[in-house]
Symmetry: C2
Subunit: 358 residues, 2 copies
């Protein structure tokens, strides 16, 4: 029997937040952050491959990461790696993969997922995904996985949830991107809000309809070439049309505007790993609350640090508290954790002074 | 005309104080600490080669550093590199080289110098050395270069100087090793004390007499084999006799006991570079008092640090004050400067846990 369930893994991020541990050459999703032997992308693939046949899994990434993706996921055939000729946020990325899937199976149900998140409770996660796939088969909805907030995090998007449920699934009332501290605290206290995980489930028909309604630019452009998807002319079409798509996220472009957005409230141990602090929170810590990735560290009078050296290096740290120590083969960064929002600026400054190879 | 002036460069140190920037494999004297293109050993050779013919310069080092020494000083012939089969402080080292020189030129005057000190005012230094060589030709003395103290340093040896002078050279009253802070301050305030640079000048006859009187063990042992020095049997003799020499410094074994010790009071910009702090004091600093060796560093809200990475690596540091950041290809150390006396302990601990290769 034909399997109608598909998965789109978005894997085009450039990972500058973890500079210099990750960088444009090897973004975060391609790194084995937790020393498990599998990169975040590979772990994402493994997670979904438990319920989705591998031939129904597509990775959308940037042209420049084609080789890395092939190396890390030899399970995929060449035509399962969709290459964006230019960076264009999540809406064009999802539209591209959706039109490809339309050409293969118009009855598809689709999971859309980032490639670089951490999921701790895999079984719980899979149960929620299965529940979602089941739900979207029978309802014309855009479904997102919401995570019960454990703290007033200001770097996440929040979803306000209606009390009423359909088959255990809540309708969404509002979206709020990155609230300030007070607002985030109020959200958490209210009990009405969940974190937006950025993991979505919907039927192909629902998402194509949503594009048609809310992002007609993208919808029209790809509809013009709909007959070219899944043919040898697809690449030429994408290379010429994709750069003209608006640079817009699926959240802003579709979900915040649509009135059929629903959410499954989950608690599967999630982190979007979008900052050193969230990485620190999500990782196994020693008795002094230090986190180290992939290397041997001796801590002396040191606590609350994150140490990430890409090479196999012994690190000895004395008298440091709340610092990030991150290294690539070319660069070493030592920075207070609470100043991590400035790292991109440090990187830009370093490259301006010493060259783009850093 | 035969040149009677000789130089013994002591180059057997293992450099653990600068671990991991330096280590047993590449001790401090073999490193280009100041990015001049020449290691400390090479700089020492260059300094003396201005006034001593290269064939009169001997390097005494450990067996294990023969190859490194040959590489760094191709100017020396094989028999100018004297190899200790085992580590035995400075007295046996100096005795070995002195007996070799005796076999070549009994009329020799000898400069003895560490290989890993910093001399900033080379011209002043050479003038003092020449003055010393001149003095020891006509006096049976053991001459040391003393440095006017600029601060109450507690890691140096101090020499108390008699007021009376002979040809501008002072007689020594007492030696004091590493005084505590109060004593060091009193020494500096008194104006009677100078730092012991560990650079000595004497005639071969005077030092051999001093060994005979104060270290008869060493003197007798080497006298038994005196006819073997500078022959093909020297190595065999040294390998069998040297390990039985007492482990004793020339300061403790000879200078503190002899009554013919004199000192030239100098100010040639000297540092023995025996600690990160002394290195920091001796080095060129940026406007925030940071020192970096051989690499590109961006400091942000950071002051009074020393950064020493052995590879060509960009280092970005935010929010650090008074730290040492030292790196080898295998190890990274971050440590408060005021805790540097514990670095040897950190090293021992690291090796115990992770192996001797670090």
């Amino acid at each position: 029997m034909k399997n109608n369930n598909y998965c789109i893994i978005m894997s085009g991020g450039i990972g500058n937040r973890f500079w210099p541990y990750s960088n444009e050459k090897t973004p975060k999703q391609f790194l084995d952050f937790f020393g498990t032997g599998r990169s975040l992308l590979q772990s994402t693939f493994d997670r979904f491959n438990k319920i989705i046949p591998k031939e129904n899994i597509f990775v959308v990434t940037n042209d420049g990461y084609a080789e890395l993706t092939r190396e890390q996921l030899p399970e995929l055939s060449e035509d399962q790696i969709l290459l964006e000729p230019i960076r264009r946020n999540t809406a064009p990325c999802i539209a591209y993969a959706s039109f490809r899937i339309q050409a293969i199976n118009p009855e598809a149900n689709i999971i859309v997922t980032p490639s670089d998140h951490l999921i701790l409770k895999s079984d719980q996660f899979i149960a929620d995904i299965n529940k979602g796939l089941d739900f979207v088969q029978h309802h014309d909805v855009l479904l997102t996985l919401g995570v019960k907030p454990s703290r007033p995090e200001t770097s996440y998007g929040y979803i306000q949830v209606c009390v009423d449920k359909v088959e255990g699934v809540h309708k969404v009332k509002t979206f709020t991107e990155k609230p300030n501290r007070e607002l985030a605290q109020a959200f958490v206290d209210s009990g009405e809000f969940v974190w937006n995980s950025g993991i979505f489930i919907w039927s192909l028909k629902s998402i194509l309809n949503a594009f048609k309604t809310h992002l007609p630019d993208i919808s029209n452009k790809f509809n013009d070439g709909a007959h070219l998807f899944n043919t040898e002319k697809e690449k030429e079409f994408i290379d010429s049309s994709f750069p003209f798509c608006p640079n817009i996220s699926i959240d802003y472009g579709v979900l915040e505007k649509a009135d059929n957005v629903f959410v499954i409230i989950s608690s599967f141990g999630w982190s979007d790993l979008d900052s050193w602090t969230s990485l620190h929170d999500a990782s196994q810590r020693d008795e002094s609350n230090n986190v180290n990735l992939n290397n041997d560290v001796i801590y002396i009078e040191s606590s609350n640090n994150v140490v990430a050296t890409s090479s196999k290096k012994l690190v000895v740290i004395q008298g440091l508290e709340d610092y990030i120590i991150a290294e690539s083969d070319k660069t070493l960064l030592i920075c207070k954790k609470k100043e991590e929002h400035r790292i991109k600026h440090f990187m830009t400054d370093a490259r301006f002074k010493f060259g783009d190879e850093f």
